[in-house]
């Protein structure tokens, strides 16, 4: 399986692990559908996972097999790439792909060479970089700059979900994308800590960074030409290399 094929699996599957089939036509949960494509897997090693599943080594889960793969025999081991269906007394996962152990070895050996990283660390880094580049491609401007002024743009609105628009003035030193000249530019951001906005960027005085600027429209355009609302709209200066595809 090529790196591109593994990348495709990683993009579809937020969770992968080396697992051994322990039971066929069985489940670890009482409230899932069981058929001859339902198996119980012992997770031998987590390969990649969000933090909350990072310590799942040694756990048993219910695996719904993907179409196109044979139902494995008890004792069969492989790297399974899965999506999570239900999380209750145990976890139900749905297979999106599978990697034979001998093919996993190549990734494990490669990772070991670069300091014992997780087997797919390099590929996951590529996915993150691709994601950032895709997000930046939707920005009207990508600039290197520093926050030189912060001010309230409009009075706080009535709703608890009001964004609480503030304006940051950036001293733009360089435009990586978009036609902006060096100088000061206004950028709106949501100062509200409401759950709808709390992970939106909150520029700090003097903050340096790479800013992914999105055009405002309507009434907001009268307050500033750009806004930053997505958590990835502010990046460390070093991310310029990633955005250029050099990272």
């Amino acid at each position: 399986m090529s790196d591109e094929e593994v990348l495709s699996l990683l993009r579809q599957a937020p969770f992968s692990f080396v697992g051994t089939i322990e039971n066929v036509y069985a489940a670890t949960m009482s409230d899932v559908t069981i058929d001859d494509r339902t198996v119980v897997v012992l997770i031998d090693q987590v390969l990649h996972a969000p933090p909350v599943f990072a310590r799942f080594g040694g756990q048993r889960v219910t695996l719904q097999l993907a179409p196109g793969y044979d139902t494995p025999a008890v004792g069969y081991s492989a790297a399974f790439f899965v999506q999570v269906g239900a999380v209750g007394e145990s976890v139900e996962v749905t297979e999106v792909g599978r990697l034979p152990l001998e093919e996993l070895q190549r990734h494990t050996a490669l990772a070991a060479k670069v300091g014992g990283l997780a087997p797919f660390a390099a590929l996951e880094e590529r996915i993150q970089a691709d994601s950032l580049r895709e997000h930046s491609s939707g920005a009207q401007a990508v600039v290197l700059g520093r926050v030189v002024k912060l001010e309230q743009a409009v009075p706080m609105g009535f709703s608890e979900h009001d964004p609480g628009w503030w304006r940051a003035t950036l001293d733009v030193r360089y435009a990586e994308q978009g036609e902006l000249e060096p100088g000061e530019i206004g950028v709106l951001y949501a100062s509200s800590g409401d759950v709808a906005w709390w992970d939106a960027p909150k520029p700090q005085a003097g903050q340096d960074g790479v800013w992914l600027l999105h055009a405002t429209d309507g009434e907001l355009a009268e307050l500033a030409p750009f806004q930053i609302l997505h958590p990835e709209d502010v990046q460390p200066v070093q991310s310029l290399d990633v955005l250029r595809g050099e990272g």
Binding site: P14, F15, E22, N23, Y25, A26, A27, T28, M29, S30, D31, I34, D35, V40, L42, P50, P51, V52, F53, A54, R55, F56, G57, G58, Q59, R60, Q83, V84, G85, A86, V87, G88, E89, S90, V91, P155, M156, F158, S159, E160, H161, P163, G193, D194, V195, A196, W198, D199, K202
Partner: protein, 528 residues
């Protein structure tokens, strides 16, 4: 004295023992036809960061809960935005009102006919510039039509009525239809400060009586936002809000501006003020007696000290004349929030709230059969330091802008969010955890049963069960769960069975869960 037992359950499933999210602002639906079936919600993200936000599902009367990602618009940090849920009176269809986690104030009304499936809920209504959709469902006895009411705060310019009139309700008289029509009705008939308050609450009675309550933010030269002068306005409709002029059966004056009754005096707030790491302002609940639609209850909060005050006093008022007159029967001082109300089939009234008592958040269930003329039966469901865990910097709400209390027959069911420290002292009524915890050392543990996990805010389910009298006399033991018995269920007398000591439950221990083969596993229904 009202005799019954309380059961409290932490909703976080065992496999998510490593999570540290602040799962605030919970809600709950209980299937009235089959009260073993429940759905709860909170600001819980998909643990894998997908595109759908989760609901908590229980099919065993709340003993165990499973997370299923079926709500459109997952936000990686909070899951969905505001969310409330309700089951249809018959048939098991689940309705939800949400603010989509991927859209700013994007209200969606959702439906699923199979709440235990992983199929995404169907979007019935999709609108922007809305707030706090609050779903209730009801119907006439014997009718299979789902009458679904969604109270909400319509902040669209010119969305409903005149500018600033934002309290509204969307109603479908047949929400089970393939493409149901929802009709929006504005509830506000007077000028406001710019909008009404976020909460719009609905109470339904099977005879067709519908009560609606909202905060009218009065236009006043004396207050500048976030200072707000407000009334608690109650409206009523006597025929499912199906006529030409819905919600106009309760008046205290002539003409349109006379529609509705102020059930709360002249209130004052500083909207969004912080107490105990939590914001205040949108506190409102309404309930109707299921055996007498003339008797209704309203709870709200008010800064009685006015502009110079520091309190947030909770008031409970009752009307016995279909909402025309209201009398306060209970107040909780100086600071409480999140009132939730329900009345059971015996006329027993339940009031749940979260009180900032000194340096603690205390969640209580009060029950009264005599309108608080005598001391109510009080159950402390949860208590913990108000400064622990620290609020996520810059993130609100801390516990949530609302909780919920429901009844089915004689039983009360509710949810609240709170500090999840595994400390017996925090749960005077007992508790059951699904997630791993070392109760001796008061530490949460990851799925490996070893690694400590930081405390956070979790949603908790609770049930109040009446003691039942056996047919041949005597008092039975409290009703216990049937069917699937989860690990660590607390006894009515208190301490969790899970602790003490580091003991992962069987379901996720390294030895693994019991392997199940096909076959029905269903708890039996309750005797209501």
């Amino acid at each position: 004295m009202t005799v019954g037992t309380v059961r409290v359950v932490n909703l976080t499933p065992g496999p998510l023992s490593g999570e540290t999210n602040h799962d605030s602002e919970p809600n709950l639906a209980v299937n009235p036809q089959r009260p073993t079936d429940m759905v709860a919600t909170a600001f819980t993200p998909d643990p894998l960061g997908g595109t759908l936000a989760p609901i908590y599902v229980s099919t065993d009367r709340g003993f165990t809960w499973t997370l299923r990602n079926v709500v459109p618009g997952n936000n990686p940090s909070s899951g969905t935005g505001d969310i409330t849920v309700a089951f249809a009176p018959t048939g098991g269809t689940l309705y939800a009102g949400i603010l989509n986690g991927q859209g700013t104030s994007r209200m969606q009304i959702l439906r699923t006919t199979n709440f235990t499936s992983n199929t995404p809920m169907t979007v019935l209504v999709d609108r922007f510039f809305e707030d706090q959709p609050w779903v209730v469902a009801g119907g006439s006895a014997g009718s299979s039509a789902d009458r679904v009411f969604v109270g909400h705060n319509d902040r669209r310019p010119g969305g409903v009525g005149f500018p600033g009139a934002s309290a509204a309700v969307d109603v479908s008289q047949a929400a089970a239809a393939p493409a149901p029509a929802f009709t929006e009705t504005g509830l506000e008939h007077k000028q406001t400060q710019g909008q009404d308050g976020p909460p719009v609450r609905i109470a339904l009675h099977p005879d067709g009586t519908v009560y609606a309550a909202f905060q009218r933010w009065n236009r006043s030269s004396l207050t500048t936002f976030p200072a707000v002068s407000f009334d608690v306005v109650v409206l009523r409709d006597d025929a499912w809000a199906s006529g030409a002029s819905p919600f106009s059966d309760l008046t205290e004056g002539s003409g349109p501006s006379g529609i509705g009754v102020n059930a709360g005096g002249n209130g004052f707030m500083r909207f969004g003020d912080i107490m105990g790491q939590e914001r205040l302002g949108g506190d409102l609940a309404i309930a109707v007696d299921p055996s007498n639609s003339s008797t209704a209850w309203v709870a709200h909060c008010d800064r009685t000290g006015g502009a110079a005050g520091t309190d947030w006093t909770l008031f409970l008022a009752r009307s016995t004349d279909r909402g025309r007159n209201w009398a306060v029967v209970r107040d909780i001082r100086p600071t409480a929030k999140n009132p939730a109300l329900a009345v059971n089939s015996d006329g027993l009234v339940g009031l749940t709230y979260q009180e900032l008592a000194g340096s603690q958040w205390v969640t209580r269930l009060e029950l009264s059969s005599d309108a608080w003329a005598t001391t109510p039966t009080t159950h402390v469901l949860h208590q913990s330091p108000s400064n622990t865990p620290p609020a996520v910097p810059g993130r609100l709400p801390y516990l949530g802008d609302y909780i919920r209390l429901l009844t089915v027959g004689r039983y009360f069911y509710g949810v609240f969010s709170g500090n999840n420290t595994p400390d017996i002292a925090n749960f005077p009524s007992g508790v059951s955890y699904q997630r791993l915890a070392d109760w001796t050392n008061r530490v949460l543990l990851n799925v490996d049963g070893v690694t400590p996990v930081a405390i956070s805010i979790d949603p908790f389910f609770f049930e109040w069960s009446p003691l039942r009298t056996r047919p041949r006399g005597g008092v039975s033991a409290p009703v216990r769960g049937t069917g699937i018995q989860p690990p660590g269920v607390s006894t009515p007398s208190g301490p969790p069975i899970r602790g003490p000591g580091i003991r992962p439950p069987q379901s996720i221990s390294p030895r693994g869960p019991i392997i199940r083969e096909p076959g029905p596993v269903r708890p039996t229904d309750l005797d209501l």
